[in-house]
Structures are given as structure tokens and as C-alpha cells.
Symmetry: C2
């Protein structure tokens, strides 16, 4: 008589590394074809997908936990910018031959830690083999009261342009990662170097801002491909333009130090990607309340310019009153 059929390698992999993360009842313990979610009454669901690829969005030797967390956080950042509360996520993971058990263990541990920290449980997934590099594709779901999603399209002339946190750190961190010697030229101390490297490695999505954005913003998006290019997108979607005071763009101490040493870095700061901050348009009459709500949420926000109707795209105006000329305004894969 036949023995009970053994689980396949794929089932064992899922059971060992990912089932412990599937604590939400909608995940059905990852033993079914699909997850099943009962949407909250009166809510819209916000859906976003972002994929990261080894050698493109992260380095193959990045810590596996950081890769997992980055993959989740870039999606959480989209939910934050739209004003949505995370509901959960689905994971498609492509693995080359020979990925070590220790890699998978650390990947799952990082993923689980963030799923818990951000209240965004694993709902389902697919694990496949690839002859290429590791690829992590995550689809995240969020919810918000019906009709309240903060879109890219609502910016109006006169609105103030506001950003969270600081801009350019991740792009500088990536430059350092590629050519560590720059740290000397930029006069960075070890702490500043580590800070910039970490800002590239591990985005800090602004999920605490979801409610303030829903209440006070007329438009918002997350800054993933560079402030200049992303603000261009927001302006195009809203049919407006914007004027930005370069001197007001919030910089970390590390970025400020590097910029002092090498003024041409302003282009990297303004057009480099991976900030995962939020840029939004706030009607002038809402700015004070938005500032207050952001302070309560524990997130620094800075007014950097204003939306205008005249044509001409987004203009970055330097302290000397001259327009900044930018070669590549945005990170683009194609």
C-alpha cells in the first residue's frame, strides 16, 4: 500500500519559511490556491504592485532581510501616499538555483518583521525558479473610506508643495555604495556614510502620514524615481506646473555636508530615486493643520514651493534666482 504522499520541495519551502508569516485568516495558512479577504464595509481597496530585481534595485549581496523589507516597503510607500491603511500583501518570489536556506530564513525573517511592524500581513504568494537574478514582486492592498483616496490629479494652482523627511539621501547612498571613495571627497564622517547607505538600503515609508494626507492634501505621490521627475508626473496628471525653491528642499546633515563639498550633487539629490518620501499638494488654507497633523504623526514636513497654472513644467529655482538645469529628471528603466 502506498505511503502518504510526501510534500514537494516547493511545499516544504513555503511551509518552512513563509507559512509562519501567514497569520492572517485571509491567508488560509497558504495551503489554498488563493487568499480570501472580506473587505471592510464602506471602504475602497487601494492596490499597488512593485517589483525589485537583483542587480537593478538592490545588490545581490545586500542582507536578505533588507531585500525583503525593501520589497515590502516600496509598496507600503505607495499605500501611504494614497492615504490607505495596509491590509496585506501577496508575494511572487523568483529564486535562482542554489539560494541557501540561510538566505531564505533571513529573507522571511525580515519580511515577517515588517509585515508585523506595518500591520500588513502576508496573504498569499508564488515561489518560482529563475535562471536570472532574484526578483521580488509584491502586490499590496490597503483600505480607506470610500472615495477618499489621495490621487495625483487633484493639485490646484496656489496649493503649496510639501515633502516629508529629507530628499536625496538614498541617491547619495547608492553613489557611495558604487564608489565608496567619494565619502572622503564629500567630507562625510563614518556616521554620515552609514546614514546615507542605510537610506538606500532600507526605505522608511511614511505610513503614519496616511490620515493627514487624506484629510488635507489635494494630491500626493511617493517619491521613488526622484523628486524632479515625480513632481513632473504629479503636475502633468493634475494639469498644472510648480515652482520649487531649491534652498527649501529638506536635506539631511549628511546630504548637506556632501553638497557643500560638491555643489554639482544637487542634480543627484533632486533627480536621484529611492527617496520613498511623499510629495504632496496642500491647499494654502490647510497647511497649518497639515503641519500639526504631521507633527502628531511624528513626520517632519517641509514646504518647498507652490503649484501654479502657467505652463513650463516644474521649475527648480536656486537661491540666486536662476533655474536649475537638470539633465535627467527621473530614474527610468526604459
Amino acid at each position: 500500500m502506498a505511503k502518504p504522499a510526501a510534500e514537494s520541495g516547493e511545499e516544504r519551502l513555503i511551509a518552512r519559511y513563509f507559512r509562519p508569516l501567514a497569520l492572517h485568516p485571509a491567508a488560509l495558512g497558504l495551503i489554498d490556491d488563493a487568499a480570501v479577504l472580506t473587505p471592510p464595509d464602506g471602504c475602497d481597496l487601494v492596490l499597488t504592485v512593485d517589483a525589485i530585481v537583483g542587480g537593478v534595485h538592490f545588490f545581490a549581496d545586500d542582507p536578505p532581510g533588507a531585500i525583503a523589507r525593501k520589497a515590502l516597503r516600496v509598496n507600503l510607500s505607495d499605500l501611504a501616499a494614497k492615504g490607505a491603511k495596509p491590509s496585506g500583501f501577496l508575494l511572487a518570489l523568483a529564486l535562482p538555483d542554489g539560494v541557501a536556506a540561510s538566505w531564505l530564513k533571513a529573507f522571511a525573517k525580515g519580511l515577517g518583521a515588517d509585515a508585523e511592524a506595518y500591520g500588513c500581513p502576508l496573504l498569499g504568494g508564488d515561489t518560482v525558479k529563475t535562471p536570472g537574478p532574484i526578483m521580488v514582486s509584491i502586490t499590496a492592498l490597503g483600505s480607506l473610506p470610500q472615495g477618499s483616496m489621495v490621487k495625483r490629479t487633484g493639485a490646484k494652482p496656489g496649493d503649496r508643495v510639501v515633502v516629508t523627511g529629507s530628499i536625496g539621501d538614498a541617491a547619495l547612498g547608492l553613489k557611495l555604495r558604487r564608489a565608496g571613495k567619494a565619502a572622503g571627497r564629500w567630507k562625510l564622517d563614518a556616521k554620515m556614510r552609514d546614514y546615507l547607505a542605510d537610506r538606500y538600503l532600507l526605505p522608511q515609508p511614511r505610513n503614519a502620514m496616511a490620515e493627514p494626507l487624506r484629510k488635507y492634501a489635494s494630491a500626493a505621490m511617493d517619491v521613488s524615481d526622484g523628486l524632479a521627475g515625480d513632481l513632473d508626473k504629479l503636475c502633468r496628471a493634475s494639469g498644472v506646473s510648480a515652482e520649487i525653491d531649491v534652498a527649501h528642499i529638506p536635506l539631511s546633515q549628511a546630504a548637506r555636508t556632501a553638497l557643500m563639498a560638491e555643489p554639482a550633487l544637487i542634480e543627484t539629490i533632486v533627480t536621484g530615486g529611492d527617496d520613498y518620501e511623499i510629495v504632496c499638494a496642500i491647499p494654502a488654507s490647510n497647511v497649518a493643520a497639515f503641519r500639526m497633523a504631521s507633527a502628531v504623526a511624528g513626520v517632519a514636513v517641509t514646504e518647498i514651493g507652490r503649484i501654479s497654472e502657467r505652463e513650463g513644467g516644474v521649475r527648480f529655482v536656486g537661491a540666486d534666482g536662476r533655474l536649475l538645469s537638470l539633465k535627467n529628471r527621473s530614474y527610468s528603466h526604459f
Copy 2:
């Protein structure tokens, strides 16, 4: 004065190939960070993700439209097996350098045709570059009345095991694709060869079965990794076993012809993947009604065995009463 900023290559790619598919209002024309979906009242959402990779799940020289359709259909098949009506999907597409515009055009055309045919619109996506092969990861959403999802866990002793369509065609089609000479040995005519090749290239998900399954099945899943292994999974999830009459497994004329010529192919038929049929457990008292509803839905269904409680996994019993011995019961990536 600055010119209006040009769209990036990535934006142009999305606008040219994928925006025409984003007809559903939830997609917001693909110009926002996220899609926003108002779930129907009283419904659960069913969520599934499946990724396909060039050189693993399809051949690099498969027609791009067929690759797109396969990527969507393997997800539609999961929704069908769960009894859900498609709501829409999100696409993560990783492209190597040098993918031609004609490839993308044909890919988008195939995707759009199936999105329309199955009522499953594109809601959002992400397009990234990869140094590896093309990878298409799709997350599909479906809806059904609250609490009505057909799970893997509900099979009960005495239930009949039923499958849709025919089993093994795609696995034979893949064998032919890898070694076309087998067609002669298997005594297949050109029509049979084409039929099997097409069953591998383009799954036929059984979405017409969603309602009959919801009404009459105690458990169901789609057959993607081979009948033996997938039925093993269903039985493990339900805490039961099953006995299958090998002679009752429905075969196409092409598969029957090949099997007559080479009886050892029974292993390929029973354990090969990519059927995208549905295997389900139907309480004996529901079988007649389920047959009727399936006929109305235009899908052939065949009773192939029954669920039992005694231990021993799934047993495949040949016409001679002897148990089939299977080396690898399931396709597994790991």
C-alpha cells in the same frame, strides 16, 4: 524658461502599450501610484498571484501574445477553482534589454484580448528592467458572495472526485515541444500534435465552472502541477485520502493515441503539470446536479474516483486492480 518636462521612457512604454488596456475606472488610466477598487457589497475578494519565467514556464520564442495570455490564464484558473468571478489584475513585468517594440505590442494585444474575453481588466502594474529572462507576475482578484469560496479543505469521505476537461495534454505537448520526434513514435497525426502543443501553450481556464463549483463542490483546486500531486495536496488539506480509477481519467484523443503507443506515458499524464483543469470533491448527492450545471456551462466533467478516510494518500488504481507506482507525483520548482 523650461519646457514642459518630457515623459520618461518608462512612462511612454506604459502609455503606449498598457494604458489602452486600462479601461476600468479602478485603473485610473495607470497614471497614479495605485488602483482603487470599490468592492461589491456582501462579497469576499479572492486574491491569487502566479508568476511565469522565460525558460522555466514558457519558451523565449513563444508568441508574445500567448505568453501574456498564459500569465493571465494561470491566475484565472485559480479564481475559477475557488468559485470566484474575475474582478481585475495587476501586472509586474520584468524585461531584459532589447525587447522589441513588436514584442511588446503583441504581448499587450494578447493580454488585452484575454482581459476582455474573461472580464478581468488590467488595474495596475509595474514594469522593470532585468538582466535575466522575461518574467510576468500577475496578481488577480475575484469576487464571490461572502463565505462562499470553495476551499481545498472541505473534501469528505464518500465525496466523488471529479475533473474537468482532459488530463495530461499539456505535459505531452511540452514533451513534444522538447523532442518533436516523439510524435512519430506516439503515432500522432498533425492535428493531434498541434492540439497537444496548443494545450501547453495556452491554458483554457474553466471560469464557466465558478458557479457550479460554489453550488455543489465541497473542495476544489486547479490542476497546475499534475493531477497526482495536486490531488495529494487537496487530500492533505482536507485530512482525507482518495482512490482514483486510472481508466476513468479523461483523455483527449491525442493523449489516448500516444498512451496506446507508449503505455509508460501514463506517468507523464498523471503527474505532468500545466493542465489547468479543475479537480474537485462533490458530495454523492450533488453529483447529478453538478453534472447538469457543468453541461449548461459547456464544460465536460468526469468522475474519476472517490474520497475515503483511510490513510495512504491518493491511490491510482489501474484497470488490472494494481496500484500505479509514480516516481514524481508533482511538478515542483524546488
